[in-house]
Symmetry: none
Subunit: 379 residues, 2 copies
Amino acid sequence: MRVLRTGVSAVAPLPPSELQAQQAWLNTIIKGDCVAALEKLPSKSVDLVFADPPYNLQLGGDLHRPDHSKVDACDDHWDQFASFEAYDAFTRAWLLAVRRVMKPDGSLYVIGSYHNIFRVGAILQDLGFWIMNDIIWLKSNPMPNFRGKRFTNAHETIIWATKSKDAKPTFNYDALKTFNDDLQMRSDWHLPLCTGAERLKDDGGQKVHPTQKPESLLYRVLTASSKPGDVVLDPFFGTGTTGAVAKKLGRNYVGVEREQAYIDAAEARIGEIETGDASTLEMQKGKRSERRIPFGSLLETGVLKPGAKLTCSKGRYYAIVRADGSLKSGDHTGSIHKVGALVQGQQACNGWTFWHIDTGQVRKPIDDLRQEIRSRLHT
Amino acid sequence: MRVLRTGVSAVAPLPPSELQAQQAWLNTIIKGDCVAALEKLPSKSVDLVFADPPYNLQLGGDLHRPDHSKVDACDDHWDQFASFEAYDAFTRAWLLAVRRVMKPDGSLYVIGSYHNIFRVGAILQDLGFWIMNDIIWLKSNPMPNFRGKRFTNAHETIIWATKSKDAKPTFNYDALKTFNDDLQMRSDWHLPLCTGAERLKDDGGQKVHPTQKPESLLYRVLTASSKPGDVVLDPFFGTGTTGAVAKKLGRNYVGVEREQAYIDAAEARIGEIETGDASTLEMQKGKRSERRIPFGSLLETGVLKPGAKLTCSKGRYYAIVRADGSLKSGDHTGSIHKVGALVQGQQACNGWTFWHIDTGQVRKPIDDLRQEIRSRLHT
DNA sequence: TCTATTCATGAATCGACTT
DNA sequence: TAAGTCGATTCATGAATAG
């Protein structure tokens, strides 16, 4: 087994120095176990690490959707660990290996879900890493919760850490602020899942990797915490999203991956990428559309109180607001929309404009109350 | 020092049983250290716990300076390790105390930031708690990052956990869905900070508590994971947001707090709250909690007659109703569910929504017929 | 060619009750 | 306790298909 593979993308996009040009591992994928492979790299050689380690999901039996189709779960062998202890030992080992190759002012990003991220975060702290932020990737289109037993798991957590408290990592504050319409970039990132043409598929049309990350996510990480010519390491390279974005943005990458199938897909993918003129590249922007205010917010915020009486504009129908945000009108209960439709005997109804509330001498639609909350949120 | 304080709000809002009315600690604030105070409570007596623990018990104020100014604290590895260890020991102690008083199917919510939440989450898992979700409170109006060295820290993390993997916690799925305009509730909650009139101020206009949580946050937690009459514990009661919302929503509360000033503020605050009346506190129920109507009832009541023809929504499949409540479709016979599955070649099928009947010009699911019987039974 | 409808799918720790 | 039965349960998006 060759330890170093020189793939189609072996030429560094932007080697800023003679020294880097001599390093054979730049812009390659190293095949093998993460810890062993990282021993091939010199210490203090990496500016930025993005790590998407196994999440250690502990799934039960099969899960079916309401239409009885089966959910294609992430049940690969590499995600299975015998115990929390085993997962912790694995995590400590790769974090130490990564720590050695990081430059003193380098940055580390680790992504995970509630299954593993708390263990990763605690171990990071135990090893002396310094957490700069935790960042929330909010998925605009997550998979729903089919059984109605939990909240829709609509996000993942990313930890940004440095090697020590004293580190002074790259942080392109102004670039991010400009990108974000002159507002500071926040710790919540609204980005869609990796789907469509970006999602790598095999000949059979099946996804190549169960957990391919969107390029928009890496784009934001690299834009925030690296400079052109920097070296970006991904110790769990998978199908190479990190390498693809690094090449696009004129950064050098180095990946570590165990599965040959993923390496092949990644090399083909990165080979097709051209390093762009950075000024022409555009980050995928978060949705800035006006946020939805659910009816329940009127109760949470106290704008409306449980027991309040709502009427239609003419006072012909009425309903009582219950604490959980449902309405009750005679035998009918349900959302403002559902009850609005039921009392009128119609198929559908916009509860926001149908239901009114009497305040003093004025009867106004509850949509006005929502507007009040919106203006509060904006200030 | 009195261990039990019977404040202005000592009367339980909704004691559902004689037993609870006899328990002196219900709807009181217990003054003292969290672990010691919880020993006064019987085991398995609490339905829901909301905990907002200190972030830095032994770490000093270092971690939380909003201006990120350099701290002159000892930062060598040993001290750092010792500090985290002390925090971990504290966390383990109060989580074990809470675990004892939780009912087997009770829920625990813990809120924190990146400074402490990873340690809390890992310890939760180590102690055998089972994480149901992590929830992100997204602040619509967070404090900006003044120095431009990090992302604006615009969120906090809440962990929802049960005592064990096998627990079956209260989760008012349908109420939350109705609350959220008929979309299932997600793990990201967009809520503003506690400001304005809701924020408790002392005579000098200074905020009474540095980290008062908004009532909207507790409203959602209690709406999700408790029922009217439940017992809600807050082991770090502060100025009593948990108690205030519990009383509003007809839940019993019990708080633990060390600082007399906070206890005074909380008792005054809760004393002014009025509990909503029972009908408005009723939660939107799902179908599962409604009375079961077997298919045979449709025949018994004459809503459906033997020999009736059922079809799927598109009319592609059909079946004949037999007098014993079974269906016959070609060679397939059996229950509405079994025959529905068989004709589609699937493992399972909800016959109530799969099979339809033509009534005049409308084709409607037989579930509607069941609904008619239900409403008849209610009147 | 354009529009409307249907279909597929994404890191998921995803029953409850009776016999 | 284990097995069998009943029957509850999904949102956003893009691609494919139909009109």
